[in-house]
Symmetry: C2
């Protein structure tokens, strides 16, 4: 198989029957919008309010063109046009004649051109205007009849900017006239982990004779299994084998990320290899098992059901999932690549995360994302592209969803990191009004069961017993996130946020100097989600009133951002650590959100676009250490004369027992460090938290706006922790 | 197609390689156990403790035999052995050679005998011992790896008696050598109900030429649609059409039960009809829609999901479902027939029921049941044969479940009465410990979606927001069912019970005279579930302590049964009417249970086996009238000097508006009738309940043990109601 690059140009037209007036150079993979902006010399879309310039682009037809330079092919060879993905509805034309039409960006295209094109022929990809099921002003609901990610229609961290273009690779490909079209590998791991049962199904383009050979090598390059199966006129060939004492794949923190390589080839009757497919694969058994105590409830009649399982068990070991919600790392999916993913995923791993929830509002990531997650042991909760809408039950939509979901499952299921399928985001809540009865979700459950039955499936998030929100340090009703989480009882917290303003130096990169300070509810601050971003809180995401309440009115951009970041950092610490204290009833803590698609002025993200960690990132990293000394404190703001109380804990996700020791608690008040309590704790069982005594100190009057609680663990400095609180002298 | 009966005999053996010592006459359809008991002249299994005699029978092989008397067939004809169902795992042998092996009682068998048998050959059906996944003492859990109904392994209303035998019809059938194997009809009703879209798929035994003709006639015999489709070598032929202005099928109380007849025939190239299939079918659109108010909850963060939809909408009209849980009407499914079903279903219709829940512990009913439900407008909530077990995820079990569920769906989906599929009973509660993740339930959801996508599917009952229980007039914690239901808030009550003793004359038919009174916790009373039936209440189902508490110790069997029946009658009235008061948040009231498989001494049933209504049946019938005056009273037992209070209501499930009127409330105290209140109520909107004032009377000291509340509606006597309460003078 040989591949040849294609050179594209792109233009737009309001009428697909009328040629574009101007064609410009197209970067493929990429986005039509960016090609046009580049050609026109527009300023960066991510600065100030420049993105508004792109509004008209979602209503036009984008036409990509290339001229075929036909590579030499010999007898028994075929020339294919291969395109891995076009965003979103499109036609492929050869010299103006439609060869293929498709709705859906996740299903690749392969067209046999051998007998259809001559040197110099024109190949076109005609992309329709962005899908819109109804009224423009409806925002994301325009996406409720398509498998187009809804986020582009505008979200509280994403401008309205609907991407369009050839977003994955295109090339000409020369294949043997008999070749492998698809190879599907399914496996299941024996209860005692001693064996992997492998089923391999190879689909050829036509009935053939010869043989199929496949070789499975481990990460040391040793051949583990090899088979050759004679074929005599079959088109679909099913094979199976068993792999004894497999090297299993483990998530980050639990073991090695062992992988295998599968090489599969079709040999003709002369024994010559004529088509080959390579796959990297890892083996693990993942299950959702019930959290302890759930069977005790409900206890009285009339009795509903018990809450569903939300504890992940990997290779027989249950684990607490720490992580975050992944949002699209760019507005334009076509410009995302491994170099986008790698630094972000390194940060995730660096924060001791073992799970990311790939949220249904965004695009399904490219292969390199999952390759990296496989390597780093980061488990993926993968949602289909449904979010916060009542998706229709029409045959047209269901057909597209069927095609796209099958493509997505087929692409992702070889990755051991993909641990959980989910229908989409918040579909069973008032903002969507869907239910288990909707065909879209029954179809997704069906397809996941048919194609990847060993991986758990959730219809949506949240399900019963699982919590979403809040998203503010202090809620509209005045409740702090510290108190809210301490009064909650959920099997998993899979979306919780603390909004935080971006660092001052970062803000200066995209907000014009004259707008920077003081903050006004307009212009770039608003456009970049600093104000009026979330309809439930006009102050979102900056939440200036909250900052002023705790610290007084900031006098500079630097003061503002410093105060805001204390709130985000301390809020996230309180939530992650409280969720861990609620283990094992609680089994997951995933914040909203990890990253962002463009520069935000304020957001719940831990990392600014493209990969600039905010101070809260470092705090979360501390709270997610496998073992740490932790304090449970009921509130953030204190006054002189009040008795400050902190319940001491050791939080422990380590799989190994730990000897006992001593935690000392101190208060850092102005320049003075005051001893509060020493706790001699017993040895720790693997994965077990330990609750200790409560340190209690009557606070003196101090000068500073903040004070700190410091926990020091004798001879285990890596377990030390530090918390900042707000101090307000009585007026 | 011609059919010929078969004559069977049956015997048993411990070793399938050794012939039975004795063969006896077999009734087919029937049960091997009953044939044996009849031949041996045993007393009735349903009297006293006689059923214990049958214990050994579940461990043997039952062998059915028949001698083939070969009917004359001509060229182009084939002779088939057809068996509609064998309970449970079996082989079919011809002259001792295995022709077919099967696990599962719901999948028919058709074997082409033409070239395999000669006159006088022997046909055998060898049935394996009852399926048992583990330890005998485990009871129903022995059924957790099979699709055998669990109820036979013993339940709180069913003795341990595991049925076995050919439980559906068998015959020899002569078919043309080209014939229709299966005809599948799917349809969906247009949103505005103006059109039905029909898809018809005909499967032939082999590729054929000629034509497929089909005719759809309405209930007046008029041809609505007719088509002839030429076939040229296809084996599977798909056709579709549209039916305009269809006569829709409506549930009892909402409209007519319109049905159609489909006649489908295969014609050979000469135009001669060679194979024919007839189906009766009705068209309706049924959906589960969300109950009002559910989107308001949850309101605070962290936020779980909203409760799932539980309101049935039929042809665009939502309705309140009134009904009961259907249990197997016989221990031996083979002896159930239309004559079993008809009187019971007439009672259901007579009680104004519009729904029966065919509970997952029991057998899936035969065609005649669904034909009658179609005719009477009784909607069926159909569960698959899973109940109160953690069914395994093994490939063997899943294969059987796949086969059996496909057969069940195929059999039932043509019936408009089948309104709701459900995976099984109480699978997501502590007694089963299953969840949405179990493959059995994902498989059932998948099969229902693939084969009958227009009918809603529930994974189990109860789901979130739906209540099961309680089952006693007064709970173990002393709470009466009146109070319990008034303090509950569920979208549907789909299992609630009030146990009640059977009438004295009925008890005398199966409890030996010497055991009748006083009741002792042994012998026939215990065997027939009067005592120690339900592990959560030793007094179940008689609940003698409760009776004694309210009425004092009964001095005769007649007194005992009279008191017990007051409790059951008044308890059920209170629950049904309170559930109706909670409309529209609540949308279903189904009691546990309607009928029973054999005579019980006490049980939650409304109707004793085989079809003897208990007094509670009449009470429930009153409470389920489309319109009635109703009283909400907080408790059952009152004392002199207490202020008796009754909140007056009109409960209204009628689809038509009603003019206003007057309700008068009276108390019947000893011989005196005391006026309490007159309520002039406004006109009623369709389907809307009306809450009125509270009648309040300070109770005098009376002589009787009971008193009554009487509601009289001026010039609408059919809305009148009457409630009995217990009176206890102070000691």
């Amino acid at each position: 198989m040989r591949r040849y690059a294609l050179k594209w140009e792109v233009g737009h037209t309001n009428d697909p029957g009328v040629d574009p007036e101007v064609m410009v150079h197209a970067s493929v993979p990429g986005a039509a919008q960016l090609d046009w902006a580049n050609a026109e010399g527009w300023p960066e879309y991510w600065k100030a309010e420049n993105c508004e310039q792109f509004g008209w682009m979602e209503s036009v037809y984008w036409i990509y063109r290339t001229i075929i330079q036909k590579p030499g092919i010999v007898a028994k060879e075929r020339l294919f046009f291969r395109c891995e993905g076009v965003d979103y509805q499109f036609l492929v034309k050869i010299n103006g004649v439609v060869e293929h039409g498709q709705e859906g960006m996740f299903t690749p295209v392969a067209i046999d051109l051998t007998d259809k094109v001559a040197e110099g022929d024109q190949l076109e990809v005609v992309i329709f205007p962005a899908p819109d099921s109804g009224d423009y002003s409806q925002g994301r609901s325009e996406a409720n009849a398509s498998v187009k990610p809804a986020v582009g229609y505008g979200w509280d961290f994403h401008p309205r900017l609907v991407s369009s273009g050839i977003w994955k690779d295109t090339y000409l490909e020369i294949r043997n006239e008999e070749h492998i079209v698809d190879a599907e590998l399914n496996y299941w791991v024996e209860e005692d982990l001693s064996r992997v049962h492998l089923d391999l199904t190879v689909e050829l383009n036509r009935p053939s004779a010869g043989s199929i050979q496949w070789v499975l090598t481990n990460s040391k390059g040793e051949v583990e299994e090899a088979q050759s199966v004679a074929i005599e006129g079959q088109r679909v060939i099913a094979m199976n084998t068993e792999l004894f004492d497999p090297y299993l794949w483990w998530p980050n923190g639990l073991g090695k990320q062992n992988m295998y390589r599968l090489t599969l080839s079709l040999h003709d009757e002369a024994g010559e290899s004529v088509s080959r497919v390579k796959r990297r694969i890892g083996f693990r058994r993942v299950r959702l098992v019930h959290n302890p105590q759930v069977w005790d409830e409900p206890s009285a009649h009339p009795k509903g059901r018990s809450v569903p399982p939300m504890t992940l068990e990997v290779n027989g070991a249950t684990l607490f999932c720490k992580g975050a919600n992944w949002t699209p790392p760019e507005i334009f999916p076509g410009i995302i690549g491994e170099d986008t993913y790698r630094p972000l995923l390194e940060k995730a791993k660096g924060a001791h995360f073992n799970m990311l929830r790939c949220w249904g509002g965004g695009v399904v990531n490219k292969d390199s994302f999952f390759d990296l997650c496989d390597e780093m042991g980061i488990m993926i909760w993968q949602e289909f592209p449904l979010a916060c809408n009542r998706y229709v039950d029409s045959p047209e939509y269901l057909n597209t969803l069927d095609q796209e979901s099958r493509s997505i499952i087929g692409q992702l299921k070889v990755h051991p990191s993909v641990a959980l399928w989910c229908g989409g985001n918040e579909l069973f809540n008032a903002s969507s009004k869907m239910s288990d009865q909707h065909k879209a979700l029954r179809l997704l459950n069906r397809n996941c069961y048919d194609l990847d039955p060993e991986t758990p499936f959730l219809p949506t998030s949240p399900i019963m017993g699982v919590g979403h929100g809040g998203y503010l340090f202090r809620d509209m009703d005045g409740v702090e996130c510290l108190e809210r989480i301490q009064n909650s009882r959920f099997t998993a917290y899979v979306e919780f946020g603390c909004s935080g303003v971006s660092p001052a130096n970062y803000l200066k990169t995209f907000i014009p100097e004259e707008e920077l300070f003081p903050v006004r509810p307009e212009g770039s601050w608003k456009r970049h989600h600093g104000l009026e971003a979330w309809d439930q809180e006009p102050g979102s995401w900056l939440c200036l009133d909250t900052i002023v309440d705790y610290f007084g009115r900031p006098e500079s951009l630097e003061e503002l951002t410093q105060y805001g970041q204390i709130l985000q950092s301390e809020g996230y610490k309180a939530i992650y650590e409280e969720a861990r204290r609620q283990k094992p009833y609680c089994s997951m803590a995933l914040c909203w959100c990890f990253n962002e698609p463009w520069p935000t002025a304020a957001n719940n993200s831990l990392i600014n676009w493209p990969c600039e960690p905010k101070p809260a990132y470092e705090s979360v990293k501390q709270s997610c250490r496998p073992i740490l000394a932790s304090a449970r404190v009921s509130k953030f703001s204190w006054k002189g004369g009040e008795a400050f109380e902190a319940e001491l804990w050791i939080l422990n996700d380590s799989g190994e027992a730990q000897r006992g020791g001593t935690v000392e608690a101190y208060l850092q008040l102005d320049d003075e460090e005051r001893f509060a309590l020493a706790w001699d704790f017993e040895s720790l069982d693997p994965n077990e938290n330990l609750m200790g005594p409560t340190a209690r100190v009557v606070l003196p009057r101090i000068e500073g706006q903040t004070f700190q609680l410091i926990l020091r663990v004798e001879s285990r400095r890596e377990w030390n922790s530090r918390y900042t609180f707000c101090f307000k002298n009585e007026d």
